[in-house]
């Protein structure tokens, strides 16, 4: 649980179809899981996405249809919309991938109470992107009452998400 619920932030980024995605308008009335990461991430991002995808796959349609997952790339240079779409499809084809400039995305992260992402150079001219490992869960009241750290397991998601859908997060 977050000590103080985090309000949704108004922003519009580009989705993997190249269309503008108005975050507040398009997620209104849904439980929305928001995660900032990148497709070259070696650990946290694929683990979170794989676990959420596996659990959603198991939910009945009436629960599943009330949940959106939004993945915002923190590595716009390498994560082209095509690559982002392909990568997300490994986990769930309904996952929404958003793309914006590094500054735009950092501003959104800070507005949501998350640290801005940072580039970490590695050997051979490659780089990693340091970013928050938390998934923000916005409920239908447009507030994030809960944030899920790295280490959240499928059983935890399966336990919590239906409760968030039913607005029973206390």
């Amino acid at each position: 649980m977050m000590p103080r619920p985090q309000e949704k932030v108004d922003f519009t980024l580009t989705d993997t179809e190249g269309e503008p995605f108005d975050f507040r308008a398009r997620t209104e009335g849904y439980v929305t899981l928001v995660f900032f990461g990148y497709t070259y991430c070696p650990d946290v991002c694929p683990i979170h996405m794989a676990n959420i995808g596996a659990v959603l796959d198991d939910f009945p349609l009436e629960v599943r249809s009330q949940i959106k997952v939004v993945f915002v790339t923190t590595d716009p240079e390498r994560d082209t919309p095509e690559r982002l779409r392909l990568w997300l499809d490994n986990f769930d084809t309904s996952f929404i991938g958003l793309h914006g400039s590094r500054d735009e995305v950092n501003e959104i992260q800070v507005a949501l109470g998350l640290p801005a992402s940072v580039i970490e150079e590695t050997e051979g001219g490659e780089y990693l992107v340091g970013h928050s490992a938390r998934v923000l869960a916005f409920t239908k009241d447009n507030l994030a009452h809960v944030a899920y750290p790295f280490g959240t397991r499928q059983a935890d998601w399966a336990h919590d998400l239906p409760k968030l859908v039913d607005e029973r997060w206390e």
């Binding site: 070696p42 683990i47 676990n51 596996a54 198991d58 490994n90 280490g151 397991r153």
Partner: protein, 271 residues
């Protein structure tokens, strides 16, 4: 420098070789101890030269398989990424290497145990078939219990303890079948077949957990960087299959050997 392999601890899998110095020392220690043990025997203690070579080959093969299970790449894959490889490790350490290691000792080694009455008494108490069966199955159940395995696999000492528990469990299980201590009553072939058969069909609780749980049972594999083309749950179900069918296969092979030996010895006594 790592002495023993641990869970992946957030590092993505790649094929970069890693040394596990503790594993090398452990294997070397066993090899040296075996060589020193063999040197104690006069040539006359051996049945014949072929027999001697056979014992050495069995022991070397057992030790090689043990090393294979404990070192890169099986160990890091099994301890950090794939439950199915973890189960292959278990098969090698607990079910396949121990009988080969025990077959590596000549009859004279087991005869020599009578020089150490206290060790012999302890061995006798722990390796009576019913006790050995219980010890093996309790250890295997406990060492696959998710709540215990996850914390153990996060440290070198923990994974060392798991590996040693499997090895000891395997040696205890196979002892009544292979180690022929002359002073002890013979384990009759019919009972040997029952002992192996029962172990082949017994269903331990971890098997149910692995096969039927809706979500991954082990945090280690669920929270390890995924290997493309696998999911934690399908990997876990494969692990359950390896555990059940692999154990059954080893038991069937052993039963064939026991039955064959039984038929041969019956023919010899008839002749």
């Amino acid at each position: 420098m790592r002495l023993w392999c641990t869970s992946s601890q957030g590092v993505a899998w790649d094929w970069t070789w890693q040394p596990y110095v503790g594993v090398w020392l452990f294997i070397l220690l066993i090899a040296v101890a075996y060589w020193l043990h063999l040197r104690r025997f006069e040539p006359s203690a051996w049945e014949d030269c072929t027999q001697r070579r056979r014992h050495i080959v069995f022991f070397a093969l057992g030790l090689f398989l043990l090393w294979l299970a404990l070192d890169w790449p099986i160990a890091p894959l099994g301890m950090g990424y794939l439950a199915s490889v973890h189960m292959v490790q278990y098969m090698l350490i607990a079910l396949i290497a121990p009988p080969l290691l025990l077959l590596g000792f000549p009859a004279a080694s087991y005869e020599k145990l009578s020089d150490r009455p206290r060790a012999l008494a302890t061995l006798r108490n722990t390796t009576q078939p019913l006790v050995a069966f219980l010890i093996f199955n309790v250890i295997i159940t406990v060492t696959h219990w998710p709540a215990l395995v996850d914390p153990f696999m996060s440290s070198q000492l923990g994974t060392f303890a798991l590996d040693m528990a499997w090895l000891v469990a395997g040696l205890v299980f196979w002892w009544p079948l292979i180690a022929a201590v002359p002073a002890w009553p013979r384990f009759l072939p019919l009972f040997q077949l029952a002992y192996l058969g029962l172990n082949g069909i017994i269903i331990r609780p971890p098997f149910f957990i692995l096969l039927f749980s809706k979500y991954p049972a082990y945090a280690t594999y669920e929270l390890a960087p995924p290997i493309p083309g696998t999911s934690a749950l399908s990997d876990q179900q494969l692990a359950a299959g390896i555990m059940k069918l692999g154990t059954a296969a080893v038991m069937v092979v052993a039963m064939v050997f026991v039955f064959g030996e039984w038929v041969r010895s019956s023919k010899r006594s008839d002749a």
